[in-house]
Amino acid sequence: MTILQFFLWSLLKVAVVTVVMLLAVAYTVLLERKLVGRIQNRWGPSRVGPFGLLQPLVDGAKSFLKEDIIPTGVYRPLYLIAPIIALGCALISIAVVPFGEPVSIAGSPHLFQISDVNIGLLVVLGVTSIGVYGIALAGWSSNNKYSLLGALRSSAQLVSYELALGLSLVGVVLRAGTLNLRLIVEQQSTQGMLTWNLFGGGQFVAFFIYLMAAYAETNRSPFDLPEAESELIAGHLTEYSGFKYALFFMAEYFGMCALSGMAVTLFLGGWQAPCAFLEVVPSYVWFALKLLGLLLGFIWIRATLPRLRIDQLTRLAWKFLVPLALINLGTAGFWIRSAGWAGPLQPLRWAVALALVALPFLLIGRKLTAGIGPRIYRYAAP
């Protein structure tokens, strides 16, 4: 394959993925508005098109046509570049996620993955961590106290939760012995659903640590303090309007898709079907279904849980998630070391692994919640 062919194929793949992801993000927003509406006992968007299905197009047109206001007090270069950093980093991390089994036609490279990098996992983590600059710089360059407070909150939050996020993935890497996302997916495929990292690799706890950290990393509820509207107006978004606001909005949803895609790839078997007879359904459909499931989880959590306070947020990260992730790393090491145990040692292996998972959770949880009793309603009927 010549350089030119490679270049053209890559361009084609990038174009297709970007268009598909843009549509997916637009309809995720609609899905979220509809679902949150239903959960709050109202209809959500229902006027434009059947069931409000054309709402994303109208929203897009609106954000394009809105007047582009740049306040006079802002520091212009950073103010303009911040939304681009946020969106760009969210987009780049999608490039290494494999969303289908390796297929190639006419000497093309792997069709369902833009770039098969040896250190794909590290690329996603690194690029996600750069994405914070979008928010931090937006907050600082806006020359607004609320924006700055939002940016400070978000940088504290991201630094805290990035540690938990990274540590929760080390167990998966230990099991796979590689950072290549395609190999990690293929390595989970031996027994269908049972050998997904969620069940087979003993990474059950890591999955939930990852999910919590992912909610925090994408500034989603209940960790949406950087843009808490009742405290900070809109945080780093306060001075943004029109299309630049839409860029931030898209970055948040792209980030959600990227981190959910990583969760699917690392814990839920990637594009694999859950059992052998379901393999008639194409692999990318499985990936899309799992991704949709995780996105629904994001939406459900947002509609259910109230926002945390900043001290509760950092305490959850440093006193609960990070220790649990470290212990989980030890458990993963034990599980891999004891892979050769057989006969009577097999139940012992399970017992030790389960104790290593459950006991710290119970002990740390009990210690953290000590003294916090059920709320007593003195003046109102519960």
């Binding site: 250190i119 590290l122 690329v123 940088s155 990274g166």
Partner: protein, 172 residues
């Protein structure tokens, strides 16, 4: 190929020099981040992907975030920043310390045998890197960890000094 290396070196050194010269703290911090990104680019140029993205993850993502955080929380105006040395002795001590560190680094770099890879592309996997770090270089790794912890504790002590009232108790 060497033109690329020269461009990367220019980026790293130029942005580092500009970061030292500028008086606006935010601009300095951003240029420092650019310099770190340049180092990551250099690793990519040298086919060390893992080192490159570890650099991005640790320095560009986390360390510089802390730096930026500190800058955002402290003073921002360039007027109240003093860059002159408080006394001649202090200036001499600073230059002496810098020279000593530079000498140690130069000595280490010059004395280390750097094997030239035979093939075009080195095939070091992450597994091999981990084995090397945890095996022969475990002592160095532990030392670096202790050093970083001590630095962190020192930073917390310095930052916390002056916040506490004389009797050492937190105010309610």
């Amino acid at each position: 190929m060497n033109a690329v290396l020269a461009a990367i070196a220019l980026l790293v050194l130029g942005s580092a020099a500009a970061a030292l010269a500028l008086r606006n703290l935010i601009h300095s911090a951003l240029l420092l981040i650019l310099s770190w990104l340049g180092i990551a680019l250099f690793f990519l140029w040298a086919d060390a992907e893992f080192a490159a993205f570890a650099q991005v993850l640790v320095y560009v993502g986390a360390v510089s975030m802390v730096v930026l955080f500190a800058v955002l929380l402290t003073r921002q105006s360039r007027a109240d920043l003093s860059v002159t040395a408080q006394s001649r002795g202090r200036a001499a001590a600073g230059v002496g310390a810098a020279l000593a560190v530079a000498a140690v680094l130069a000595f280490a770099v010059l004395r280390t045998p750097l094997p030239v890879p035979s093939g075009l592309r080195s095939a070091v996997t992450v597994r091999q890197l981990g084995g090397e770090l945890m095996g022969p270089h475990a002592g160095a790794l532990l030392l670096v960890g202790v050093l970083l912890t001590v630095t962190l504790l020192g930073a917390v002590t310095i930052a916390g000094a002056g916040r506490l009232p004389p009797d050492g108790k937190d105010q309610p």
